[in-house]
């Protein structure tokens, strides 16, 4: 009894964590489902079929490919632009700095539906209603990923002491040597984290994309479309793969950090 009382909060917390994982278990389970009919969404039997034939519905893989392409492109652009801005905001003093901080913050504080509909209004007013597609999705994704990148980089830089850069200058490193040999390697984990965040935001976005995609279909839009008519189980394969890939990346860095900590102790 005392044991439980001691750990009540921890047990409750773990229950909440279980709640967070229940649908994930279902996703993983359903990726092995052998459905009896396409209309009833329940577990009927185990099969590897979905994993071995991921592109049974070619339009799903097309949608997946589009999402990956847009995700990579938007991530590269948003990460570069956002990293530059993060440096400006932390390391430089300039007129308009605090207004820039507000400008960066606002897109994160607006609901997606408002961002999406206002962007659509602009495209329509600008006469691009007929050209909605890859590039309008790309623009939308760069726009909403950008703020998250800036915030991540800014946090990383703010936590980094600029004494290290002074030390490099003191040790005969020119400004460009200082940047490439000291600043950049130290900010790199933050940049990679921002890129990972940016990719997953872009890959997963539905509401903004749905308004600005024209006839293009991204993976979330594909799922939305087939949700009513019966979901191919391969969707769960994709969901499981996304989880595995991101867990490998995140846990990889975690293990690395732990190993370093252990080396420190010896």
């Amino acid at each position: 009894m005392a044991w439980i009382k001691e750990r009540a909060v921890l047990v409750l917390g773990l229950l909440v964590l279980v709640y967070m994982f229940v649908p994930i278990f279902v996703v993983v389970l359903m990726s092995f489902n052998d459905p009896a009919t396409r209309n009833v969404y329940k577990f009927d039997g185990f099969t590897m079929h979905n994993w071995l034939n991921p592109c049974e519905d070619p339009s799903m893989c097309d949608a997946l490919g589009l999402s990956v392409r847009i995700g990579l492109l938007a991530t590269v652009v948003a990460t570069i632009i956002g990293t530059l801005a993060g440096f400006a905001l932390v390391r430089w003093d300039f007129f308009g700095r605090s207004s820039s901080n507000v400008l960066i913050f606002l897109p994160m504080a607006a609901p997606e539906i408002v961002l999406g509909s206002s962007l659509l209004t602009l495209f329509v007013q600008g006469g691009f209603a007929g050209q909605l597609g890859f590039w309008t999705i790309f623009i939308a994704h760069v726009m909403f990923c950008l703020s998250f990148v800036v915030v991540t980089i800014r946090a990383r830089l703010a936590g980094m002491n600029d004494v290290l850069e002074q030390a490099a200058a003191d040790l005969y490193a020119t400004p460009s040597q200082t940047f490439w040999r000291v600043t950049f390697p130290l900010v790199l984990p933050g940049i990679l984290g921002a890129a990972l965040l940016s990719f997953s935001l872009s890959f997963d976005d539905f509401i903004i994309t749905n308004l600005n995609s024209g006839s293009e279909v991204t993976f979330p839009m594909y799922v939305w479309g087939v949700a009513r008519v019966g979901l191919p189980m391969q969707v769960n394969v994709v969901g499981t793969l996304m989880l595995i890939v991101s867990l490998v990346i995140v846990l990889g860095t975690e293990v690395n950090a732990r190993r370093r900590a252990r080396a420190l102790a010896t």
């Binding site: 409750l12 994930i24 400006a88 430089w92 504080a109 602009l122 760069v142 997953s200």
Partner: protein
């Protein structure tokens, strides 16, 4: 003594320029487009063009037609935020104070579900709450639910889906705040004759308020605009403002309605957020 001096110079503008241009072109200007569109003459069409006639009645017409989904959105978002706050606080507290060396692993687990597609996760709930699923069966067996009652396609399912999907946005800021609290302060309150409950409300809770404020905002704002949960887990009676905006925005005859509703949603959220922040600034939040 050492100056943490920021550098001055034009380079800052060069670094800042791309981000400012992107946000100006695709965030600020669209917002003006939205304001303009919300004041269109309603009789226009994509063929004949739209004219800004400062037709403020668009706002009133939109509210009159769609006040139900609007209120529903805010209520759903509010309820989901409250649930998130309770669940998120327990989890964040457990991770911050009770998890020992597993702290960082647990934090990874909090964000892990976030990496599986939002839509796929929400569809899983469809399956879990399905009429012939084991949860409904069990609840019916226990007579918590009547034989004809269901979970899917109810208000409950929508709120639960929202709470589920936005929980990480609550847990992370809460964790950041709670983790910073010096454990000795809580011991000191115990030393000064507070029982654990009093100690929590007099020490832990007030010190975690910054996390509570940012967590609730990060949960409430996206939840108020979301329509995925309402569409996938609700029914025709649970339609929310996001769905309406989506439909009207893509309907060639109603861009002004979509724009006016977007503006109203923004203003509504802004008003609630400002009110809330003012409250949270004082002890009234307790």
């Amino acid at each position: 003594m050492a100056e943490t001096g920021r550098r001055r110079g034009l380079t800052a503008y060069l670094l800042m320029a791309p981000a400012v241009i992107v946000l100006a072109l695709f965030f600020v200007i669209p917002f003006y487009s939205l304001v303009a569109a919300s004041l269109y003459e309603p009789g226009g069409s994509d063929k004949n063009g739209w004219e800004v006639t400062y037709h403020f009645a668009n706002y009133w017409d939109a509210v009159e037609l769609y006040w139900r989904p609007l209120v529903r959105s805010l209520v759903y978002a509010g309820a989901a935020t409250l649930i998130c706050l309770v669940l998120g606080y327990v989890l964040a507290y457990a991770i911050a104070f009770k998890s020992g060396r597993w702290k960082s692993l647990l934090l990874v687990l909090v964000i892990a579900p976030f990496f599986t597609s939002f839509l796929v996760r929400t569809l899983s709930w469809q399956l879990i709450l399905a009429d012939d699923g084991w949860i409904v069966d069990t609840l019916q067996f226990l007579h918590v639910l009547g034989d004809d009652d269901r979970l899917l396609a109810t208000n409950f399912a929508v709120v639960m889906g929202l709470a589920y999907n936005f929980l990480p946005f609550m847990v992370l800021p809460l964790f950041a705040s709670i983790d910073k609290i010096d454990h000795r302060l809580i011991e000191a309150s115990g030393d000064l004759y507070s029982n654990p409950v009093v100690g929590f409300f007099k020490v832990t809770w007030p010190l975690s308020l910054p996390g509570v404020v940012s967590g609730t905002l990060l949960t409430f704002i996206p939840a108020a605009g979301d329509y995925i949960n309402a569409e996938l887990l609700g029914n025709t009676e649970t339609s929310v403002i996001g769905s309406v905006i989506q439909l009207q925005a893509t309907d060639a005859n109603h861009p002004h309605t979509a724009a006016a509703l977007s503006m109203i949603l923004m203003i509504g959220i802004l008003a609630m957020v400002l009110f809330y922040i003012r409250k949270a600034g004082t002890e009234d939040l307790l």
